[in-house]
Symmetry: C2
Subunit: 334 residues, 2 copies
DNA sequence: TTGTATGCGTTATCAA
DNA sequence: TTGATAACGCATACAA
C-alpha cells in the first residue's frame, strides 16, 4: 500500500507538496507536479479515503437504512426500488452508499444516530421504519443531515420525501364511485404506518363526498398473506361488497388469491384496486388497477435532497406525483 | 462529537485506559471501568470507526459491486437479489456493506482494485461484469479478498460462487425432449457472458444425446425487449419450431409478448422455458417453466465465503443448486 | 513554490 | 493496573 510518504520519498519532495500536487492546488510547480503524478502512477498509488475522512471530518458516504431487508420485502420491491433510485442519483456524485442494517438482533440496540456517528456518514436516508419508532425523534433532532422516506417530519437538518397518499387514495375512491360501486371496503396496512392513516383518510373522503361510507376496514400488515386473510374475513362478514381498496399491491395480490380460492374472479365478482404499482401489478392476472407511486423517483429525490442538505441547502419536503393506473381488476358495477 | 479524550478528561484517567475499558480488556480495574462506562454513556459517546480503521488497518466493510444498477436490472431482480442475500448474511456479522458504482462515467476509469483500496474495504463481492472486463484479472490477482458471482476464476485471495449453468440448461433440454419436441431453438444472451456459453453447451448436450441439434441460436442481451425481437426473427425464419429455450426469464417474457403479438399462444403454439426463476416468472400468463436459481442464496453464499476469506480460510468455489420448475409455458408436443 | 509541524480519534507499545 | 507516547495516512496553518 503506497502512501503519499512513499511518493514524497521517491520523488524527492515533501508530503505537503505531494498532497497539494495530487489535489490539484495551483501553487505547485508544473515540473514537480508532473514528476509527482508520474511517480504516483508508477507506484500505483490510491489515496486512502479513511485517512482523508479522519482529517477532513467528512467521510463522503451516505448511509441508507435498509431495516427489515428480508425476502418478503424483496418481493415487494419498495425498499429495493428506493435503494436503486437513491443509488442512481448518488452514483453521479462523489459520495458512496453504505447500507445500515437494523434487523439484526445485534444492532437492534443501537440508535440510528449511533449508527451514523460510528460510521461517520455525512448524511442518511431513512425508510421503512414505523412512525412510532423510539429512535426516530433522536435522529430528526440530531445533527446528521437526514431525509425521511414516507415519514412527514422536518428538523433543522431533516427533510422528507413522500407521495401524496391522501390524494392517491382519494383517486382510488373516486374511481370506484365513477364505476358505480356502493358497497365498498378497504384492506388497510397496520396503524403504526403513517401511510395507513393517510390512505384511509383520502379514501373515506372520496366516498363521503358522494354520500357513501365504508362498509368495513380490515387491517393487514402490507404483506400478500395478510391481504389474503383479510379478504377471506371480509367476504365472510360482508358478502355484499363489490369493491375493495387495498393499501398495498401485495395485499391486493393476496386478495386476488383469496378470491380464486373462493371460486370467484376479479373484476366480475369484485373490483380491486391496489397501491404502489409494484412490478408485479401489471403481470398478475387480472392486471391490477392501482395507484402508481414513482418509488424509484422517491429514492432518487431523497438522495438529491440529502446531497442538497450536505451543501447547506435548507431542509425541504418533496411530494412525488402519483397516478391511478387503470388495468383489469376493476370494472363498472353491474 | 465526544471522543475518548473527553471521556478520559471527565473521568480523570488516560485515553489508554478508556480505550481498554471500552474494548473490554481484562487488565482494567472494575471500579474504573464502571466509571468510564458511565461517563461514556453520559457523554453519549459513539466510537469513531474511521479512526479505528486507520490504526487497525481494517475497515470492517465489504464492498459490493453494483455496476449497471439501472432500472432494467431492477426489473430483473438478479442484482438486487444477490445484494439482498449478501446483506442478509453480512448483517449478522460485524461488517457493513458499501456499494460500489461503476456505471457512472466518472468512475469508469477507476479499476476495481482502486475502488477497493481507496475505500479500504476488507473484501469485495463482484457481480454483473463481463468475463472480458479488462480490470477483472487485476482484482483476481490483487490482494483484496474477493468473491466472484457467476465468474469461475480463482486466485490466492479469490473464490467464486455460481450455479451449474451447464447442468441447468441440460435439464431444460431434457425437458423438451421428454415432451417430444424435435424442432428446438434457443435465444441466448450475449457471448461475453460466461453463462451464455455454459447454457448453450448444456442445452446442446441434452439435444445431441437424443440425436437432435439446435435449429437456430439467436443472441439477445438478456433483456425483455431483446427476447421479443429474437422471437420475432426466429418465427419468421423458422416457423417450424415448437420449443424455445431462453437464457433468461426476462427474454422468455419478451418472447411471450412477441408470441401474443403474432396472435399465437404458449404453450399451444410454442413451448418456452426460461432461466433464473425471477419473481415475475410465476406471475406471468402462462406461468413460466424455468430453471430456478437460488439467487438470494448466491449472494448469501458469496458473502459467507468472503467472510471466510477474511478469516484466512482458503478460497473456494461454491455451486448453488438449481432446479427445473415446470409451470404452464411448456407442454407435450402434439 | 516548497517544507515543517501539528492534529484528526483511535489502538498499541512500552515503561512505570 | 495505569499512563506517556508513538503510530495510522492525510490535509493544512504557518514559516521559509
Amino acid at each position: 500500500m503506497t502512501t503519499i510518504k512513499d511518493i514524497a520519498k521517491t520523488a524527492g519532495v515533501s508530503v505537503t507538496t505531494v498532497s497539494r500536487a495530487l489535489n490539484g492546488y495551483s501553487d505547485v510547480n508544473e515540473a514537480t507536479r508532473k514528476k509527482i503524478m508520474e511517480t504516483a502512477r508508477q507506484l500505483n498509488y490510491a489515496p486512502n479515503t479513511i485517512a482523508r475522512s479522519l482529517v477532513m471530518k467528512k467521510s463522503k458516504t451516505i448511509g441508507l437504512l435498509v431495516s427489515g431487508f428480508i425476502r418478503e420485502s424483496v418481493k415487494d420491491n419498495f425498499m429495493l426500488d428506493v435503494l436503486s433510485g437513491a443509488n442512481d442519483y448518488i452514483s453521479n456524485t462523489d459520495y458512496d452508499v453504505i447500507l445500515f442494517n437494523t434487523n439484526s438482533s445485534k444492532q437492534r440496540e443501537k440508535t440510528y444516530q449511533q449508527l451514523c456517528r460510528e460510521r461517520q456518514v455525512d448524511g442518511v436516508i431513512i425508510q421503512g421504519i414505523k412512525t412510532d419508532d423510539p429512535y426516530l425523534e433522536e435522529i430528526v433532532n440530531g445533527d446528521t443531515p437526514c431525509v425521511l422516506v414516507d415519514i412527514p417530519k422536518m428538523g433543522t437538518k431533516t427533510g422528507y420525501v413522500m407521495t401524496d397518499n391522501v390524494a392517491g387514495a382519494y383517486d382510488a375512491g373516486k374511481h370506484f364511485i365513477d364505476l358505480g360501486h356502493e358497497k365498498i371496503a378497504m384492506i388497510n396496512g397496520h396503524n403504526q404506518a403513517f401511510v395507513s392513516k393517510e390512505r384511509l383518510e383520502g379514501f373515506e373522503k372520496a366516498l363521503s363526498e358522494s354520500g357513501l361510507s365504508l362498509v368495513e376496514v380490515m387491517n393487514g400488515d402490507f404483506t400478500e398473506e395478510s391481504g389474503r386473510q383479510c379478504l377471506h374475513d371480509l367476504i365472510q362478514q360482508h358478502p355484499e361488497i363489490t369493491a375493495v381498496f387495498c393499501a398495498s399491491d401485495l395485499m391486493a395480490i393476496g386478495a386476488l388469491t383469496a378470491l380464486k380460492e373462493l371460486g370467484k374472479t376479479s373484476p366480475d365478482d369484485l373490483s380491486i384496486v391496489g397501491y404502489d404499482d409494484i412490478l408485479l401489478a401489471r403481470y398478475v392476472t387480472p392486471a391490477l388497477t392501482t395507484v402508481s407511486q414513482d418509488i424509484h423517483g422517491l429514492g432518487y429525490e431523497a438522495a438529491k435532497m440529502l446531497v442538497g442538505l450536505l451543501n447547506d441547502e435548507k431542509p425541504d419536503k418533496t411530494i412525488i406525483k402519483h397516478e391511478l393506473i387503470i388495468r383489469d381488476s376493476s370494472q363498472r358495477f353491474q
